[in-house]
């Protein structure tokens, strides 16, 4: 087979583009943008040091704050901003919080940001008896916040590709860890050979969690620990309906010129297929369920055009396409993905540009929502927190750090 593979690679490679002059120009342009960004970060770092000095003499400053309390932000635009947690940041076990607004990563550190404005928390090193690995540790799969931000779930991703036998749920307010014994299906998070392909998706009502891998998926009922398989061909990503009665999985094997999803009933016993035809080469940025309960949305891009797709979940084929222009469009190495909805506006992540924005489908305009420091990646803003109200409230007394 390897001989055949070599021949096929040779054949396929012959279709590759060959535009050295354009690549030279493109590389120089990208390098220039990166240089400008580094300069901006350097100047911001100086400002941050000044702020830290101020904190050192007695001022208190939330790391992540809303408009009312925010320090001047790095961009001066987004009302919310996330920085890497400073050294000495307490663990969430030592300083419990009610809800986390953000699950994020800075370098190798995974951390939470308190939705009540008291700042960041690191994730603890839990004793083996209390749940084994640390959520952010290398032998642990990515963790996930419940949609209200009150609980954090994770599983161990065994490098030996052993089936998942337990799911761990940390209640942030009480620091209790619940261990859910998984039964009914042998599911291996590393089955694709890459644990980064695995994710957990909480149902909005907090009673179930979808296991989503590159090539397979399953749904775990937390009350019973029963893990049920999703039919083959639907995997890679999942989106729950707001009422937790349905769940959509990316159609992983469809090779027609369209993006599609299987919308399943909660018990996985029935499904509708929703499709959005694509008229040209596209990249696809993940399905998100709209707050109306009847629409799936996603960003697609190709041929220099980026669009937000709104697809009816009834399988009727109705598709609305809204052009994304300017900063929110895919550009070069940068892409745009849907992250959720907030007060009737789509929330888009401008990947590689350290920003989340809200996008108004009616007017085609966008507003900055969250910015991140260089090297900080937002893994999740829980849907309920993203959806309404302040993402991070002002700290009531500023002493909680």
């Amino acid at each position: 087979m390897t001989t055949e593979l070599r021949r096929a690679f040779e054949d396929l490679a012959a279709e590759a583009p060959s535009r050295p002059t354009a690549w030279t120009d493109g590389a120089r342009a990208i390098a220039g943008r990166r240089r400008a960004r580094r300069r901006a970060v350097a100047s911001i770092t100086a400002g941050t040091l000044a702020v830290l000095a101020a904190v050192g003499v007695g001022m208190t400053l939330p790391l992540f704050a809303n408009d009312a309390t925010a320090p001047s932000t790095q961009t001066g635009e987004a009302p919310y901003r996330i920085d890497a947690p400073p050294s000495g940041t307490p663990s969430v076990l030592d300083a419990p919080i009610r809800r986390a607004a953000v699950l994020a990563t800075a370098g190798s550190t995974t951390f939470l940001v308190d939705a009540d404005g008291t700042g960041p928390r690191t994730l603890p090193s839990l004793p083996e008896a209390d749940g084994g690995s640390v959520p952010g540790a290398s032998d642990s799969c990515p963790s996930a916040l419940s949609e209200d931000g009150a609980r954090l779930a994770w599983v161990r991703c065994s490098p030996e590709a052993e089936p998942i036998d337990s799911l761990f749920v940390l209640t942030l307010a009480s620091a209790d860890v619940r261990v859910v014994e998984v039964a009914g299906l042998e599911y291996t998070a590393t089955e694709a050979g890459n644990e980064q392909a695995f994710s957990l998706e909480w149902s909005p009502d907090g009673t179930a969690i979808a296991f989503v891998g590159a090539n397979s998926a399953a749904v775990l009922e937390l009350s019973t620990g029963r893990l049920s398989p999703v039919p083959a061909g639907f995997a890679f990503e999942a989106a729950w309906s707001p009422d937790s009665s349905r769940i959509a999985f990316y159609d992983n094997v469809n090779t027609r010129p369209e993006v599609s999803a299987g919308v399943f009933s909660r018990d996985l016993s029935s499904r509708e297929i929703v499709r959005a035809p694509l008229p040209r080469a596209e990249s696809f940025g993940g399905w998100v369920w709209g707050p109306d309960g009847d629409t799936l949305s996603a960003v697609v891009a190709g041929g220099g055009v980026s669009e937000l797709l709104l697809v009816s979940t009834d399988g009727g084929g109705e598709v609305r396409r809204i052009a994304l222009r300017g900063d929110v469009a895919n550009r070069g190495a940068y892409s745009t993905t849907t992250k959720g909805w907030r007060q009737g506006l789509a929330v888009l992540e401008l990947v590689g540009r350290s920003r989340w924005v809200t996008f108004d489908p009616e007017t085609g305009t966008s507003q900055p929502l969250i910015s991140t420091a260089r090297g900080v990646w937002i893994n999740q803003v829980p849907a309920a927190i993203l959806g309404e109200g302040p993402i991070v409230r002002a700290a009531s007394d500023g002493s909680a750090r």
Binding site: M1, T2, T3, E4, L5, R6, R7, A8, F9, E10, D11, L12, A13, A14, E15, A16, P17, S18, R19, P20, T21, A22, W23, T24, G26, A27, R28, A29, I30, A31, R34, A192, G193, N194, Q196, A197, S199, N215, E237, V253, T255, R256, P257, L278, P279, R280, A281, E282, S283, F284, G285, G286, G302, G332, A333, S335, T337, T338, V351, W377
Partner: protein
């Protein structure tokens, strides 16, 4: 070859097409391949005069960036139209076309690291140790990823095995 010895433009003109072919095999999409290549070239550009082996540097950057792109953009997957057009034309192919389509469809279903390992081992013809160095992983991981990828290819692209059998017979 030192970055001092060859100007950036000349390097791109001479070696860019080879890198682009690898990028295309990695991404399965012409636009993404060019994005990936340009991004890696841009990474090398500021330190060009200090890079002792530009080809190795850019290649390593490209392969590792491909994997990390995918990690960061977990929800992004390419759906190239050419592939769809091709797959929908399911009759009248010669053997080469069929094989090409089978490989392209199958590669799409591999995780990026497995795809990267296959491209390094069976297109770039690197040894396991060399592939491990490019990807910054252990030789054991290269072996296991290669094994897993080939096993998966046999499952999702049985045509490949059939072609092999036909050629042998």
């Amino acid at each position: 070859m030192s970055g001092d010895a060859i100007p950036f433009e000349e390097f791109v003109a001479a070696r860019g097409p080879a890198l682009a072919r690898a990028a295309y095999l990695l991404t399965g999409d012409r636009h993404l391949a060019e994005d990936l290549l340009q991004s890696s070239l841009a990474k090398a550009l500021p330190r060009w005069s200090r890079i002792s082996d530009p080809m190795a540097y850019v290649r390593r950057s490209m392969f590792t960036e491909h994997v990390s792109w995918w990690r960061r953009r977990r929800h992004v997957t390419e759906v190239p139209l050419a592939e769809h057009d091709a797959v929908s034309r399911d009759s009248g192919h010669d053997d080469d076309t069929s094989r090409r389509l089978a490989v392209r469809t199958a590669l799409r279903q591999l995780p990026p690291r497995q795809r990267a390992v296959l491209v390094l081992r069976f297109y770039e013809d690197l040894t396991e140790a060399q592939a491990a160095e490019v990807l910054g992983i252990s030789v054991g991981t290269v072996k296991s990823q290669t094994h897993d990828a080939l096993k998966r290819l046999r499952t999702v692209a049985p045509d490949l095995s059939e072609h092999s059998a036909q050629r042998r017979s």
